[in-house]
């Protein structure tokens, strides 16, 4: 009975581990780019004038796209 429980526990652990590895490695997340984008937008929203906010926001977008570009071809 004890052996069965240990066997079940080991099997369940293998299953959970396998599933965890499979799901976490299936799609690479570019959280780094997104996080920088969010920070950049936050900074842009604190600009004094409307035009300054618009220009800063546009720069954030370009930075974000460039970050993804470097991730695809540069790493």
């Amino acid at each position: 009975m004890m052996m069965t429980r240990i066997g079940k526990f080991v099997s369940a652990s293998i299953l959970v581990g396998t599933m965890a590895v499979a799901f976490t490695s299936s799609t690479p997340s570019y959280a780094g780019c997104t996080r920088k984008f969010a920070d950049c937008e936050q900074d842009a929203s604190e600009e004094r004038t409307f035009m300054a906010r618009v220009i800063a926001g546009a720069d954030c977008l370009l930075d974000f796209a460039e970050c993804v570009r470097i991730k695809v071809i540069g790493l």
């Binding site: 299953l15 799609t27 997104t34 796209a65 460039e66 570009r69 071809i73 540069g74 790493l75």
Partner: protein, 353 residues
């Protein structure tokens, strides 16, 4: 009476055994099912009835010892994200996007020192350098902080000399023409601007910016890039989405090349719920006039830069292999040997049949 008791005992014992065997088997069932569903990480090629979906053979990359010394390893590690790449007569130059480093690799073994490291000066902190180009006078150029064109002197001094009339991510050179990859172009316009000699910048090429609902989507989907070439054709393409490859010839004429990704190749990037397919990570046209394509074998870090394909100029896949380690770029191609910049900061060589 006695036989009846014995029979019951046997039946009881038999039931317990069956239950235990059943439970024991059940305990192994979930991992077996999981293995069956998601694969157990085997490198053995899976058989397939369709020739187009055959998983290519696994090839081992031979690490080049002349680039495996401590100094070279440190230089590659410091290089970080690649800003630009330029082929030379004997090898290739690599520019760091943020590391202020220019590496000159001698791939043909004609120099006593295989790697020359130049530390760039005059680059402000947090400014990215994009692309590496050379003009017929031998001067090196890069995009400085997206808005300026900068010259790189032989001593490694970077000086911004010209304000660009557009935002650009990178600059490439193709014979006597400078090609700039525009960061933001209107829908239906080319993502490339070209300039020959002292002329002005003008929109070039048949690639057209695709329209999307939001600025963010539009910027991502329309990010283009150009590879390298030892022949008379330079390959350029959109990094995400359908692999729309175009080739520029020496007269500046552009032709579309239907370069399809075979089944099982191609990666994915995800961003806040959206998933974008990667077309190619790098393209290289060899002296023989064949296109060498580097891409992924699937989604995830383990698959990154591990598919290498050889295509004819009409887009037919001639040969393909899976690499036993990921590569970042195709550095050069000589006959059937492909030299690669590896993901773990080394240089390797592989034979492509």
């Amino acid at each position: 009476m006695r036989s009846a008791v014995t029979g019951r005992c046997f039946a009881y014992f038999f039931m317990i055994m069956v239950t235990r065997i059943y439970r024991y088997t059940l305990s192994f069932l979930p991992p077996l099912v999981a293995c069956f569903l998601i694969g157990c990480g085997s490198d053995t090629p899976a058989p397939s009835s369709e020739p187009g979906s055959l998983i290519p053979a696994l090839a081992h990359v031979a690490v080049l010892t002349r680039f495996s010394g401590q100094e070279a390893q440190d230089a590659f590690a410091e290089l970080g994200a690649l800003g630009g790449r330029l082929l030379t007569r004997t090898g290739v130059q690599l520019l760091g996007a943020k590391s202020k480093l220019l590496l000159d690799l001698d791939l043909k073994g004609t120099r006593p020192e295989p790697l020359v490291v130049t530390r760039l000066e005059g680059v402000a902190d947090r400014v990215k350098l994009g692309g590496l180009a050379v003009t017929p006078d031998g001067r090196l150029w890069t995009v400085y902080g997206r808005t300026e064109l900068a010259r790189i002197s032989a001593q490694g001094e970077v000086r911004a000399v010209e304000q660009l009339p557009f935002s650009a991510y990178a600059v490439y050179s193709w014979r006597e023409t400078l090609l700039a990859q525009v960061a933001r172009s209107r829908a239906g316009e080319s993502p490339f601007m070209g300039r020959t000699g002292a002329g002005g910048w003008q929109s070039v090429g048949p690639l057209k910016t695709r329209k999307h609902a939001s600025n963010r989507e539009s910027l991502l989907w329309n990010t283009a890039h150009c590879g390298a070439s030892r022949a008379d054709l330079l390959p350029c393409w959109f990094l995400l989405g359908e692999p729309s490859v175009v080739l520029v010839d020496t007269d500046g004429n552009w032709t579309a090349c239907p370069l399809a990704l075979p089944a099982g190749a191609g990666g994915r990037v995800s961003d806040t719920g959206n998933v974008y397919p990667i077309s190619f990570r790098d393209l290289f046209v060899s002296e023989k006039g064949e296109i060498i394509a580097l891409t992924d074998t699937g989604a995830g870090d383990a698959h990154r830069g591990r598919f290498l394909g050889r295509y004819s100029l009409d887009g037919t896949l001639l040969a393909s292999i899976r690499l036993n380690q990921g590569a970042r770029q195709v550095l050069d191609v000589l006959r059937d040997k492909v030299t690669l910049l590896l993901r773990d900061d080394g240089v390797g060589e592989v034979t492509l049949p």
